[in-house]
Protein backbone atom coordinates (compact mmCIF):
# COMPACT_ATOMS: atom_id res chain seq x y z
CA UNK A 1 0.00 0.00 0.00
CA UNK A 2 2.72 2.39 1.06
CA UNK A 3 4.61 1.67 -2.14
CA UNK A 4 1.52 2.23 -4.26
CA UNK A 5 1.02 5.60 -2.58
CA UNK A 6 4.64 6.52 -3.23
CA UNK A 7 4.42 5.60 -6.90
CA UNK A 8 1.09 7.35 -7.34
CA UNK A 9 2.47 10.47 -5.66
CA UNK A 10 5.39 10.61 -8.10
CA UNK A 11 3.11 10.48 -11.10
CA UNK A 12 0.49 12.85 -9.67
CA UNK A 13 3.00 15.45 -8.48
CA UNK A 14 4.87 15.51 -11.77
CA UNK A 15 1.69 15.63 -13.77
CA UNK A 16 0.21 18.42 -11.66
CA UNK A 17 3.42 20.42 -11.85
CA UNK A 18 3.67 19.95 -15.58
CA UNK A 19 0.01 20.71 -16.28
CA UNK A 20 0.44 24.38 -17.36
CA UNK A 21 3.12 23.32 -19.84
CA UNK A 22 1.08 20.35 -21.05
CA UNK A 23 -1.92 22.60 -21.63
CA UNK A 24 0.14 25.26 -23.33
CA UNK A 25 2.39 23.17 -25.56
CA UNK A 26 0.59 19.84 -25.78
CA UNK A 27 2.31 17.14 -27.81
CA UNK A 28 4.20 19.79 -29.76
CA UNK A 29 6.55 19.89 -26.77
CA UNK A 30 7.98 16.57 -27.90
CA UNK A 31 8.94 17.67 -31.39
CA UNK A 32 10.10 21.28 -31.05
CA UNK A 33 13.60 22.28 -30.08
CA UNK A 34 13.38 25.88 -28.91
CA UNK A 35 14.30 26.56 -25.30
CA UNK A 36 13.80 30.25 -24.50
CA UNK A 37 13.68 30.66 -20.76
CA UNK A 38 12.78 34.35 -20.67
CA UNK A 39 10.65 36.59 -22.81
CA UNK A 40 12.80 38.63 -25.15
CA UNK A 41 12.03 42.25 -26.03
CA UNK A 42 13.83 43.63 -29.03
CA UNK A 43 13.40 46.24 -31.74
CA UNK A 44 11.21 45.07 -34.58
CA UNK A 45 13.15 44.55 -37.82
CA UNK A 46 11.92 44.06 -41.35
CA UNK A 47 13.04 41.35 -43.77
CA UNK A 48 16.44 42.90 -44.54
CA UNK A 49 17.22 43.62 -40.90
CA UNK A 50 16.32 47.33 -40.74
CA UNK A 51 14.95 48.57 -37.41
CA UNK A 52 11.34 49.75 -37.68
CA UNK A 53 10.06 53.02 -36.24
CA UNK A 54 6.54 54.15 -35.52
CA UNK A 55 4.98 57.49 -36.49
CA UNK A 56 6.63 59.38 -33.60
CA UNK A 57 10.09 58.09 -34.49
CA UNK A 58 10.17 55.66 -31.55
CA UNK A 59 11.51 52.15 -32.05
CA UNK A 60 8.81 49.52 -32.27
CA UNK A 61 9.52 46.85 -29.67
CA UNK A 62 8.37 43.32 -30.33
CA UNK A 63 8.03 40.72 -27.58
CA UNK A 64 9.04 37.14 -28.28
CA UNK A 65 7.31 34.77 -25.86
CA UNK A 66 8.91 31.96 -23.91
CA UNK A 67 9.19 28.72 -25.85
CA UNK A 68 10.04 25.25 -24.70
CA UNK A 69 10.56 21.99 -26.52
CA UNK A 70 12.07 18.76 -25.32
CA UNK A 71 13.43 17.44 -28.60
CA UNK A 72 17.14 18.30 -28.07
CA UNK A 73 17.19 16.71 -24.62
CA UNK A 74 15.33 13.61 -25.80
CA UNK A 75 17.80 13.37 -28.65
CA UNK A 76 20.67 13.82 -26.20
CA UNK A 77 19.39 11.09 -23.89
CA UNK A 78 18.84 8.71 -26.80
CA UNK A 79 22.24 9.32 -28.39
CA UNK A 80 24.33 9.30 -25.22
CA UNK A 81 22.64 6.09 -24.00
CA UNK A 82 23.02 4.43 -27.41
CA UNK A 83 26.71 5.35 -27.52
CA UNK A 84 27.12 3.90 -24.03
CA UNK A 85 25.42 0.64 -25.06
CA UNK A 86 27.50 0.48 -28.24
CA UNK A 87 30.70 0.54 -26.21
CA UNK A 88 29.52 -1.43 -23.19
CA UNK A 89 27.42 -4.33 -24.51
CA UNK A 90 30.06 -6.31 -26.48
CA UNK A 91 32.60 -5.85 -23.70
CA UNK A 92 30.13 -6.81 -20.98
CA UNK A 93 28.81 -9.92 -22.75
CA UNK A 94 32.32 -11.10 -23.57
CA UNK A 95 33.41 -10.66 -19.97
CA UNK A 96 30.30 -12.41 -18.69
CA UNK A 97 31.16 -15.41 -20.90
CA UNK A 98 34.70 -15.31 -19.56
CA UNK A 99 33.47 -15.22 -15.98
CA UNK A 100 31.08 -18.13 -16.47
CA UNK A 101 33.08 -20.42 -18.77
CA UNK A 102 36.78 -19.64 -18.40
CA UNK A 103 37.43 -17.91 -15.08
CA UNK A 104 36.42 -20.81 -12.79
CA UNK A 105 39.25 -22.88 -14.31
CA UNK A 106 41.79 -20.32 -13.16
CA UNK A 107 40.04 -19.56 -9.86
CA UNK A 108 39.45 -15.99 -11.07
CA UNK A 109 35.66 -15.89 -10.95
CA UNK A 110 35.43 -14.81 -7.30
CA UNK A 111 38.03 -11.98 -7.27
CA UNK A 112 36.96 -10.51 -10.60
CA UNK A 113 33.32 -10.87 -9.58
CA UNK A 114 34.03 -8.96 -6.38
CA UNK A 115 35.86 -6.20 -8.25
CA UNK A 116 33.00 -5.79 -10.69
CA UNK A 117 30.43 -5.61 -7.93
CA UNK A 118 32.50 -3.01 -6.06
CA UNK A 119 32.84 -0.97 -9.24
CA UNK A 120 29.07 -1.16 -9.79
CA UNK A 121 28.54 0.41 -6.37
CA UNK A 122 30.79 3.47 -6.86
CA UNK A 123 28.64 6.62 -6.82
CA UNK A 124 28.13 8.42 -10.11
CA UNK A 125 29.65 11.65 -8.83
CA UNK A 126 33.05 9.90 -8.71
CA UNK A 127 32.80 8.88 -12.37
CA UNK A 128 31.61 12.39 -13.18
CA UNK A 129 34.62 14.04 -11.56
CA UNK A 130 36.93 11.62 -13.36
CA UNK A 131 35.21 12.32 -16.68
CA UNK A 132 35.38 16.07 -16.14
CA UNK A 133 39.04 16.33 -15.17
CA UNK A 134 40.62 13.35 -16.92
CA UNK A 135 38.59 12.01 -19.83
CA UNK A 136 37.29 15.31 -21.26
CA UNK A 137 40.72 16.99 -21.52
CA UNK A 138 42.17 13.77 -22.96
CA UNK A 139 39.42 13.62 -25.59
CA UNK A 140 40.04 17.24 -26.44
CA UNK A 141 43.81 17.04 -26.79
CA UNK A 142 44.44 13.49 -27.99
CA UNK A 143 41.55 11.24 -29.02
CA UNK A 144 39.48 13.91 -30.82
CA UNK A 145 42.27 15.19 -33.12
CA UNK A 146 43.50 11.62 -33.66
CA UNK A 147 40.08 10.39 -34.78
CA UNK A 148 39.65 13.46 -36.94
CA UNK A 149 42.94 12.87 -38.77
CA UNK A 150 42.03 9.21 -39.16
CA UNK A 151 38.51 9.65 -40.50
CA UNK A 152 38.65 13.03 -42.22
CA UNK A 153 39.07 11.56 -45.71
CA UNK A 154 36.48 8.82 -45.26
CA UNK A 155 33.55 9.81 -47.45
CA UNK A 156 30.26 10.31 -45.64
CA UNK A 157 31.77 11.16 -42.26
CA UNK A 158 32.40 14.85 -42.87
CA UNK A 159 29.40 15.81 -40.69
CA UNK A 160 31.35 14.63 -37.67
CA UNK A 161 33.95 17.35 -38.00
CA UNK A 162 32.37 20.19 -39.94
CA UNK A 163 29.15 22.15 -39.54
CA UNK A 164 27.42 24.65 -41.76
CA UNK A 165 26.50 27.93 -40.10
CA UNK A 166 24.51 30.88 -41.32
CA UNK A 167 25.75 34.24 -40.10
CA UNK A 168 24.10 37.40 -41.38
CA UNK A 169 22.58 35.61 -44.34
CA UNK A 170 25.83 34.00 -45.44
CA UNK A 171 26.21 30.25 -45.25
CA UNK A 172 29.65 28.89 -44.59
CA UNK A 173 31.20 25.65 -43.44
CA UNK A 174 33.44 25.63 -40.41
CA UNK A 175 35.35 23.12 -38.43
CA UNK A 176 33.76 21.92 -35.20
CA UNK A 177 36.12 22.79 -32.35
CA UNK A 178 37.19 19.93 -30.11
CA UNK A 179 35.78 20.89 -26.73
CA UNK A 180 36.23 17.65 -24.79
CA UNK A 181 32.99 17.98 -22.89
CA UNK A 182 30.80 16.42 -25.55
CA UNK A 183 28.22 13.80 -26.42
CA UNK A 184 31.04 11.30 -26.98
CA UNK A 185 32.51 12.01 -23.55
CA UNK A 186 29.10 11.43 -21.93
CA UNK A 187 28.70 8.19 -23.89
CA UNK A 188 32.09 6.93 -22.73
CA UNK A 189 31.54 7.83 -19.07
CA UNK A 190 28.10 6.19 -19.18
CA UNK A 191 29.63 3.10 -20.81
CA UNK A 192 32.14 2.80 -17.98
CA UNK A 193 29.35 3.23 -15.44
CA UNK A 194 27.00 0.60 -16.89
CA UNK A 195 29.70 -1.98 -17.72
CA UNK A 196 29.70 -3.52 -14.22
CA UNK A 197 25.92 -3.83 -13.95
CA UNK A 198 25.45 -5.37 -17.41
CA UNK A 199 28.35 -7.74 -16.77
CA UNK A 200 27.12 -8.93 -13.39
CA UNK A 201 23.47 -9.40 -14.46
CA UNK A 202 24.39 -11.25 -17.67
CA UNK A 203 26.82 -13.38 -15.69
CA UNK A 204 23.95 -14.48 -13.44
CA UNK A 205 21.72 -15.08 -16.47
CA UNK A 206 24.37 -17.21 -18.21
CA UNK A 207 24.98 -19.19 -15.03
CA UNK A 208 21.31 -20.16 -15.03
CA UNK A 209 21.63 -21.87 -18.42
CA UNK A 210 21.15 -25.60 -17.68
CA UNK A 211 24.39 -27.60 -17.66
CA UNK A 212 22.82 -30.25 -19.90
CA UNK A 213 22.42 -27.71 -22.69
CA UNK A 214 26.12 -26.87 -22.69
CA UNK A 215 27.30 -30.41 -22.16
CA UNK A 216 24.97 -31.72 -24.85
CA UNK A 217 26.39 -29.37 -27.45
CA UNK A 218 29.95 -30.18 -26.39
CA UNK A 219 29.16 -33.90 -26.66
CA UNK A 220 28.04 -33.30 -30.24
CA UNK A 221 31.48 -31.95 -31.00
CA UNK A 222 30.84 -28.21 -30.73
CA UNK A 223 33.86 -26.02 -30.13
CA UNK A 224 34.09 -23.67 -27.16
CA UNK A 225 32.75 -20.77 -29.16
CA UNK A 226 29.93 -22.79 -30.76
CA UNK A 227 28.69 -23.93 -27.36
CA UNK A 228 29.09 -20.40 -25.98
CA UNK A 229 27.08 -19.02 -28.88
CA UNK A 230 24.42 -21.59 -28.04
CA UNK A 231 24.44 -20.39 -24.43
CA UNK A 232 24.01 -16.79 -25.57
CA UNK A 233 21.11 -17.79 -27.79
CA UNK A 234 19.50 -19.85 -25.05
CA UNK A 235 19.73 -16.95 -22.57
CA UNK A 236 18.92 -14.20 -25.08
CA UNK A 237 15.83 -12.80 -23.37
CA UNK A 238 17.64 -12.55 -20.04
CA UNK A 239 20.66 -10.96 -21.69
CA UNK A 240 18.40 -8.48 -23.44
CA UNK A 241 16.94 -7.69 -20.03
CA UNK A 242 20.44 -7.04 -18.66
CA UNK A 243 21.06 -4.62 -21.50
CA UNK A 244 17.74 -2.87 -20.81
CA UNK A 245 18.73 -2.46 -17.16
CA UNK A 246 21.94 -0.82 -18.32
CA UNK A 247 19.96 1.37 -20.70
CA UNK A 248 17.57 2.47 -17.94
CA UNK A 249 20.54 3.39 -15.80
CA UNK A 250 22.24 5.32 -18.57
CA UNK A 251 19.06 7.21 -19.49
CA UNK A 252 18.33 8.22 -15.88
CA UNK A 253 21.91 9.07 -14.93
CA UNK A 254 22.20 12.69 -13.94
CA UNK A 255 25.32 13.93 -12.21
CA UNK A 256 28.05 12.30 -14.28
CA UNK A 257 26.36 13.36 -17.50
CA UNK A 258 25.71 16.91 -16.34
CA UNK A 259 29.43 17.25 -15.64
CA UNK A 260 30.76 15.99 -18.98
CA UNK A 261 28.18 16.56 -21.72
CA UNK A 262 28.82 20.27 -22.16
CA UNK A 263 25.22 21.37 -21.54
CA UNK A 264 24.27 22.80 -24.92
CA UNK A 265 20.53 22.66 -25.44
CA UNK A 266 20.61 22.03 -29.17
CA UNK A 267 20.78 19.13 -31.60
CA UNK A 268 24.35 18.80 -32.80
CA UNK A 269 24.82 15.73 -34.98
CA UNK A 270 28.56 15.43 -34.35
CA UNK A 271 29.55 13.30 -31.34
CA UNK A 272 32.34 15.79 -30.69
CA UNK A 273 29.85 18.60 -30.03
CA UNK A 274 28.28 19.33 -26.66
CA UNK A 275 24.70 18.26 -25.98
CA UNK A 276 22.17 17.95 -23.18
CA UNK A 277 20.12 15.09 -21.77
CA UNK A 278 16.76 15.31 -20.00
CA UNK A 279 18.34 14.50 -16.64
CA UNK A 280 21.24 16.92 -17.02
CA UNK A 281 18.84 19.68 -18.09
CA UNK A 282 16.88 19.17 -14.87
CA UNK A 283 20.04 19.20 -12.77
CA UNK A 284 21.18 22.45 -14.38
CA UNK A 285 17.99 24.48 -14.49
CA UNK A 286 15.51 23.29 -11.90
CA UNK A 287 17.03 25.17 -8.99
CA UNK A 288 16.67 28.68 -10.35
CA UNK A 289 13.90 28.71 -12.90
CA UNK A 290 12.84 31.68 -14.96
CA UNK A 291 9.32 33.02 -15.00
CA UNK A 292 5.96 31.39 -15.78
CA UNK A 293 6.26 28.32 -17.95
CA UNK A 294 9.87 27.40 -17.25
CA UNK A 295 9.34 25.20 -14.21
CA UNK A 296 6.22 23.48 -15.62
CA UNK A 297 8.22 22.73 -18.75
CA UNK A 298 11.00 21.21 -16.66
CA UNK A 299 8.40 19.07 -14.89
CA UNK A 300 7.10 18.02 -18.29
CA UNK A 301 10.64 16.89 -19.19
CA UNK A 302 10.84 15.01 -15.87
CA UNK A 303 7.54 13.29 -16.66
CA UNK A 304 8.84 12.14 -20.06
CA UNK A 305 12.04 10.92 -18.40
CA UNK A 306 10.06 9.02 -15.76
CA UNK A 307 7.79 7.32 -18.29
CA UNK A 308 10.75 6.38 -20.45
CA UNK A 309 12.96 4.89 -17.75
CA UNK A 310 10.01 3.06 -16.17
CA UNK A 311 9.27 1.46 -19.53
CA UNK A 312 12.88 0.29 -19.85
CA UNK A 313 12.84 -1.03 -16.29
CA UNK A 314 9.56 -2.90 -16.61
CA UNK A 315 10.63 -4.54 -19.86
CA UNK A 316 13.97 -5.49 -18.29
CA UNK A 317 12.42 -7.01 -15.12
CA UNK A 318 9.92 -8.90 -17.20
CA UNK A 319 12.67 -10.37 -19.36
CA UNK A 320 15.12 -11.21 -16.55
CA UNK A 321 12.75 -12.31 -13.79
CA UNK A 322 9.48 -13.14 -15.50
CA UNK A 323 10.84 -15.68 -17.93
CA UNK A 324 12.95 -17.44 -15.30
CA UNK A 325 9.99 -18.47 -13.16
Amino acid sequence: MLLLVLLASVVVVLFKGALPAIEHFGAKFLVTSEWRVNEVERPLRDAVGKIQFDADGEQIIETIPQAFGALPTMYGTAVSSSLALLFAVPLALGSALFLVRLAPKFKLAAPIGFLIEFLASIPSIAYGVWGLFVLAPFLQSHIGPFVRDLLLDVPGLRWMFFETVTIAGQTSEREIPMVGRSMLCAGLVLAIMILPIITSVSRDVLRAVPRTQVEGSLALGATWWQSSWMMLKYARSGLFGAVMLGLARAAGETMAVAMVIGNANAINPSPFSPGQTMASLLANEFNDPGEKLHRPSLMYVALILLVMSLTFNIVARWLVVGKKQ
Binding site: L6, S121, I122, S124, I125, P196
Partner: protein, 285 residues
Amino acid sequence: MTGSAYNSYTRIVSFVAAALCTIFAFGIVAVLCLVVFYLFGKGASALSWQFFTELPGTDPQNPKGMRHALEGTLIMVSLAAAVGVPLGILVGVYLSEYSSEKFLPTTVRFVADVLAGVPSIVVGILGYELLVVPMGTNSGYAGAAALAFIMIPIVARTTEEMLKLVPKSYREGSLALGATKSQTILKVVLPAATGSIVTGVLLAIARAAGETAPLLFTALSSQYLTRDPSQPFPSLTVQIYNYATGPFQGQRTLAWAGILVLISLFFVLSLAVRWLTRRAVIKMV
Protein backbone atom coordinates in the same frame (compact mmCIF):
# COMPACT_ATOMS: atom_id res chain seq x y z
CA MET B 1 35.59 -27.35 -48.09
CA THR B 2 37.07 -30.57 -46.77
CA GLY B 3 36.21 -31.83 -43.33
CA SER B 4 39.59 -31.15 -41.77
CA ALA B 5 39.81 -27.61 -43.17
CA TYR B 6 36.37 -26.82 -41.77
CA ASN B 7 37.47 -28.32 -38.50
CA SER B 8 40.60 -26.20 -38.19
CA TYR B 9 38.66 -23.09 -39.26
CA THR B 10 36.04 -23.49 -36.54
CA ARG B 11 38.77 -24.25 -34.06
CA ILE B 12 40.57 -21.04 -34.89
CA VAL B 13 37.31 -19.06 -34.65
CA SER B 14 36.64 -20.63 -31.28
CA PHE B 15 40.13 -19.89 -30.01
CA VAL B 16 39.97 -16.28 -31.18
CA ALA B 17 36.55 -15.83 -29.57
CA ALA B 18 37.78 -17.26 -26.25
CA ALA B 19 40.84 -15.02 -26.40
CA LEU B 20 38.65 -11.99 -27.13
CA CYS B 21 36.37 -12.74 -24.18
CA THR B 22 39.39 -13.03 -21.90
CA ILE B 23 40.85 -9.79 -23.23
CA PHE B 24 37.48 -8.05 -22.78
CA ALA B 25 37.20 -9.19 -19.17
CA PHE B 26 40.72 -8.12 -18.30
CA GLY B 27 40.24 -4.96 -20.33
CA ILE B 28 37.17 -3.98 -18.34
CA VAL B 29 38.86 -4.70 -15.05
CA ALA B 30 41.97 -2.82 -16.20
CA VAL B 31 40.06 0.28 -17.35
CA LEU B 32 37.90 0.41 -14.24
CA CYS B 33 40.89 -0.17 -11.96
CA LEU B 34 42.73 2.58 -13.80
CA VAL B 35 39.85 4.96 -13.07
CA VAL B 36 39.68 3.95 -9.43
CA PHE B 37 43.44 4.06 -8.90
CA TYR B 38 43.56 7.48 -10.52
CA LEU B 39 40.84 8.70 -8.16
CA PHE B 40 42.67 7.15 -5.22
CA GLY B 41 46.02 8.63 -6.18
CA LYS B 42 44.68 12.09 -6.87
CA GLY B 43 42.62 12.02 -3.69
CA ALA B 44 45.49 10.76 -1.55
CA SER B 45 47.66 13.72 -2.52
CA ALA B 46 44.81 16.11 -1.70
CA LEU B 47 43.70 14.55 1.56
CA SER B 48 44.81 15.89 4.93
CA TRP B 49 43.56 15.89 8.48
CA GLN B 50 42.12 19.33 7.88
CA PHE B 51 39.61 17.73 5.56
CA PHE B 52 37.97 15.95 8.48
CA THR B 53 38.35 18.61 11.16
CA GLU B 54 37.87 21.97 9.46
CA LEU B 55 35.01 23.86 7.86
CA PRO B 56 35.45 25.53 4.45
CA GLY B 57 36.20 28.83 6.16
CA THR B 58 35.92 32.32 4.76
CA ASP B 59 38.25 32.09 1.76
CA PRO B 60 36.29 30.54 -1.13
CA GLN B 61 39.46 30.04 -3.17
CA ASN B 62 41.05 27.79 -0.59
CA PRO B 63 38.41 25.99 1.43
CA LYS B 64 40.00 24.16 4.32
CA GLY B 65 37.88 21.10 4.99
CA MET B 66 34.54 19.36 4.66
CA ARG B 67 33.69 18.47 8.22
CA HIS B 68 30.24 20.01 7.82
CA ALA B 69 29.55 17.90 4.72
CA LEU B 70 30.68 14.68 6.38
CA GLU B 71 28.47 15.34 9.39
CA GLY B 72 25.63 16.44 7.11
CA THR B 73 25.71 13.21 5.11
CA LEU B 74 25.92 11.20 8.34
CA ILE B 75 22.88 12.95 9.87
CA MET B 76 20.81 12.91 6.71
CA VAL B 77 21.51 9.25 5.90
CA SER B 78 20.75 8.30 9.53
CA LEU B 79 17.42 10.11 9.35
CA ALA B 80 16.65 8.43 6.04
CA ALA B 81 17.61 5.01 7.41
CA ALA B 82 15.48 5.54 10.53
CA VAL B 83 12.44 5.89 8.26
CA GLY B 84 13.36 3.82 5.25
CA VAL B 85 14.81 0.69 6.84
CA PRO B 86 11.86 -0.30 9.10
CA LEU B 87 9.36 0.45 6.34
CA GLY B 88 11.41 -1.46 3.80
CA ILE B 89 11.73 -4.48 6.10
CA LEU B 90 7.99 -4.42 6.79
CA VAL B 91 7.21 -4.46 3.08
CA GLY B 92 9.77 -7.23 2.56
CA VAL B 93 8.26 -9.37 5.33
CA TYR B 94 4.82 -8.85 3.86
CA LEU B 95 5.99 -9.89 0.41
CA SER B 96 7.71 -13.02 1.63
CA GLU B 97 5.48 -14.23 4.47
CA TYR B 98 1.99 -13.05 3.63
CA SER B 99 2.03 -13.66 -0.09
CA SER B 100 -0.44 -16.53 -0.01
CA GLU B 101 -3.01 -14.24 -1.58
CA LYS B 102 -2.32 -14.07 -5.27
CA PHE B 103 -3.02 -10.62 -6.60
CA LEU B 104 -1.82 -8.02 -4.12
CA PRO B 105 1.75 -9.26 -3.46
CA THR B 106 2.44 -9.52 -7.19
CA THR B 107 1.31 -5.95 -7.62
CA VAL B 108 3.34 -4.74 -4.64
CA ARG B 109 6.44 -6.54 -5.89
CA PHE B 110 5.98 -5.01 -9.31
CA VAL B 111 5.54 -1.54 -7.81
CA ALA B 112 8.68 -2.01 -5.70
CA ASP B 113 10.66 -2.84 -8.83
CA VAL B 114 9.18 0.11 -10.66
CA LEU B 115 10.00 2.43 -7.75
CA ALA B 116 13.59 1.22 -7.74
CA GLY B 117 13.78 2.35 -11.35
CA VAL B 118 12.60 5.93 -10.83
CA PRO B 119 15.53 8.17 -11.86
CA SER B 120 17.04 9.78 -8.78
CA ILE B 121 16.72 13.28 -10.21
CA VAL B 122 12.95 12.74 -10.44
CA VAL B 123 12.93 11.74 -6.75
CA GLY B 124 14.60 15.08 -6.06
CA ILE B 125 11.87 16.96 -7.93
CA LEU B 126 9.21 15.03 -6.01
CA GLY B 127 10.84 16.01 -2.71
CA TYR B 128 10.96 19.61 -3.85
CA GLU B 129 7.27 19.74 -4.75
CA LEU B 130 6.00 17.81 -1.73
CA LEU B 131 8.26 19.15 1.03
CA VAL B 132 10.35 22.15 0.03
CA VAL B 133 7.48 24.15 -1.48
CA PRO B 134 5.08 23.69 1.49
CA MET B 135 7.86 24.24 4.07
CA GLY B 136 9.11 27.29 2.23
CA THR B 137 12.77 26.37 2.48
CA ASN B 138 15.24 23.73 1.41
CA SER B 139 15.88 21.45 4.34
CA GLY B 140 17.71 18.43 5.61
CA TYR B 141 14.37 16.75 6.31
CA ALA B 142 13.41 16.99 2.63
CA GLY B 143 16.80 15.55 1.67
CA ALA B 144 16.40 12.69 4.15
CA ALA B 145 12.90 11.96 2.82
CA ALA B 146 14.22 11.77 -0.75
CA LEU B 147 16.96 9.37 0.36
CA ALA B 148 14.42 7.25 2.27
CA PHE B 149 12.33 7.07 -0.90
CA ILE B 150 15.35 5.54 -2.64
CA MET B 151 16.12 3.13 0.21
CA ILE B 152 12.67 1.60 0.72
CA PRO B 153 12.41 -0.49 -2.47
CA ILE B 154 16.00 -1.72 -2.15
CA VAL B 155 15.53 -2.83 1.47
CA ALA B 156 12.14 -4.37 0.69
CA ARG B 157 13.36 -6.46 -2.22
CA THR B 158 16.54 -7.74 -0.52
CA THR B 159 14.60 -8.56 2.66
CA GLU B 160 12.11 -10.55 0.62
CA GLU B 161 14.84 -12.46 -1.23
CA MET B 162 16.67 -13.25 2.00
CA LEU B 163 13.55 -14.40 3.88
CA LYS B 164 12.73 -16.72 1.01
CA LEU B 165 16.08 -18.44 1.55
CA VAL B 166 15.11 -19.41 5.11
CA PRO B 167 14.11 -23.12 4.86
CA LYS B 168 10.41 -23.86 5.06
CA SER B 169 11.06 -26.46 7.78
CA TYR B 170 11.97 -23.63 10.22
CA ARG B 171 8.53 -22.08 9.84
CA GLU B 172 6.70 -25.41 9.96
CA GLY B 173 8.63 -26.48 13.05
CA SER B 174 7.74 -23.27 14.85
CA LEU B 175 4.08 -23.43 13.84
CA ALA B 176 3.95 -27.10 14.90
CA LEU B 177 5.14 -26.09 18.37
CA GLY B 178 2.08 -23.87 18.64
CA ALA B 179 3.60 -20.49 17.83
CA THR B 180 1.41 -17.97 16.02
CA LYS B 181 2.35 -16.66 12.61
CA SER B 182 3.64 -13.35 13.98
CA GLN B 183 5.68 -15.15 16.67
CA THR B 184 7.15 -17.38 14.00
CA ILE B 185 8.16 -14.39 11.89
CA LEU B 186 9.58 -12.37 14.78
CA LYS B 187 11.33 -15.13 16.74
CA VAL B 188 12.34 -17.65 14.06
CA VAL B 189 12.34 -16.36 10.50
CA LEU B 190 13.78 -12.86 11.00
CA PRO B 191 16.59 -13.96 13.37
CA ALA B 192 17.61 -16.68 10.92
CA ALA B 193 17.96 -14.11 8.15
CA THR B 194 19.37 -11.22 10.20
CA GLY B 195 22.85 -11.39 8.67
CA SER B 196 21.63 -11.15 5.13
CA ILE B 197 19.06 -8.48 5.90
CA VAL B 198 21.85 -6.38 7.41
CA THR B 199 23.64 -6.81 4.10
CA GLY B 200 20.67 -5.42 2.22
CA VAL B 201 20.41 -2.51 4.64
CA LEU B 202 24.12 -1.74 4.24
CA LEU B 203 23.72 -1.73 0.46
CA ALA B 204 20.77 0.64 0.71
CA ILE B 205 22.65 2.96 3.08
CA ALA B 206 25.64 2.99 0.74
CA ARG B 207 23.41 3.82 -2.16
CA ALA B 208 21.82 6.69 -0.24
CA ALA B 209 25.17 8.06 0.93
CA GLY B 210 26.42 8.18 -2.66
CA GLU B 211 23.39 9.92 -4.15
CA THR B 212 23.76 13.47 -5.37
CA ALA B 213 20.85 14.18 -7.69
CA PRO B 214 17.97 13.82 -5.17
CA LEU B 215 19.70 16.25 -2.79
CA LEU B 216 20.26 19.05 -5.29
CA PHE B 217 16.71 20.42 -5.00
CA THR B 218 15.81 19.18 -1.51
CA ALA B 219 18.67 19.62 0.96
CA LEU B 220 20.59 22.02 -1.30
CA SER B 221 23.92 22.62 0.45
CA SER B 222 25.45 24.77 3.11
CA GLN B 223 28.89 26.13 3.92
CA TYR B 224 28.32 25.99 7.65
CA LEU B 225 28.27 23.37 10.32
CA THR B 226 24.57 22.91 10.95
CA ARG B 227 22.79 20.33 13.00
CA ASP B 228 19.32 21.70 12.37
CA PRO B 229 17.75 19.64 9.57
CA SER B 230 14.98 22.18 9.01
CA GLN B 231 17.54 24.39 7.27
CA PRO B 232 19.44 23.90 3.97
CA PHE B 233 21.77 21.05 4.76
CA PRO B 234 25.29 20.15 3.60
CA SER B 235 26.18 16.76 2.19
CA LEU B 236 29.43 15.24 0.98
CA THR B 237 28.21 14.49 -2.55
CA VAL B 238 26.64 17.86 -3.29
CA GLN B 239 29.69 19.60 -1.81
CA ILE B 240 31.95 17.56 -4.11
CA TYR B 241 29.75 18.47 -7.08
CA ASN B 242 29.81 22.16 -6.23
CA TYR B 243 33.56 22.21 -5.71
CA ALA B 244 34.37 20.08 -8.78
CA THR B 245 32.37 22.39 -11.03
CA GLY B 246 33.57 25.49 -9.21
CA PRO B 247 36.14 27.90 -10.59
CA PHE B 248 38.98 27.62 -8.04
CA GLN B 249 41.86 25.16 -7.89
CA GLY B 250 41.61 24.91 -4.10
CA GLN B 251 38.01 23.76 -4.38
CA ARG B 252 38.89 21.09 -6.93
CA THR B 253 41.64 19.72 -4.72
CA LEU B 254 39.14 19.35 -1.92
CA ALA B 255 36.69 17.66 -4.30
CA TRP B 256 39.33 15.01 -5.09
CA ALA B 257 39.84 14.41 -1.39
CA GLY B 258 36.07 14.05 -0.98
CA ILE B 259 35.92 11.47 -3.77
CA LEU B 260 38.67 9.47 -2.06
CA VAL B 261 36.76 9.43 1.23
CA LEU B 262 33.56 8.41 -0.57
CA ILE B 263 35.17 5.57 -2.54
CA SER B 264 37.07 4.26 0.49
CA LEU B 265 33.76 4.12 2.34
CA PHE B 266 32.26 2.09 -0.50
CA PHE B 267 35.23 -0.25 -0.64
CA VAL B 268 34.95 -1.01 3.07
CA LEU B 269 31.19 -1.52 2.67
CA SER B 270 31.70 -3.90 -0.28
CA LEU B 271 34.13 -5.96 1.78
CA ALA B 272 31.73 -5.98 4.74
CA VAL B 273 28.82 -7.03 2.54
CA ARG B 274 30.86 -9.85 1.02
CA TRP B 275 31.99 -11.07 4.43
CA LEU B 276 28.46 -10.89 5.83
CA THR B 277 26.80 -12.73 2.92
CA ARG B 278 29.37 -15.52 3.07
CA ARG B 279 28.84 -15.92 6.81
CA ALA B 280 25.07 -15.76 6.46
CA VAL B 281 25.02 -18.44 3.81
CA ILE B 282 27.26 -20.74 5.85
CA LYS B 283 25.06 -20.23 8.89
CA MET B 284 21.93 -21.09 6.98
CA VAL B 285 23.18 -24.26 5.25
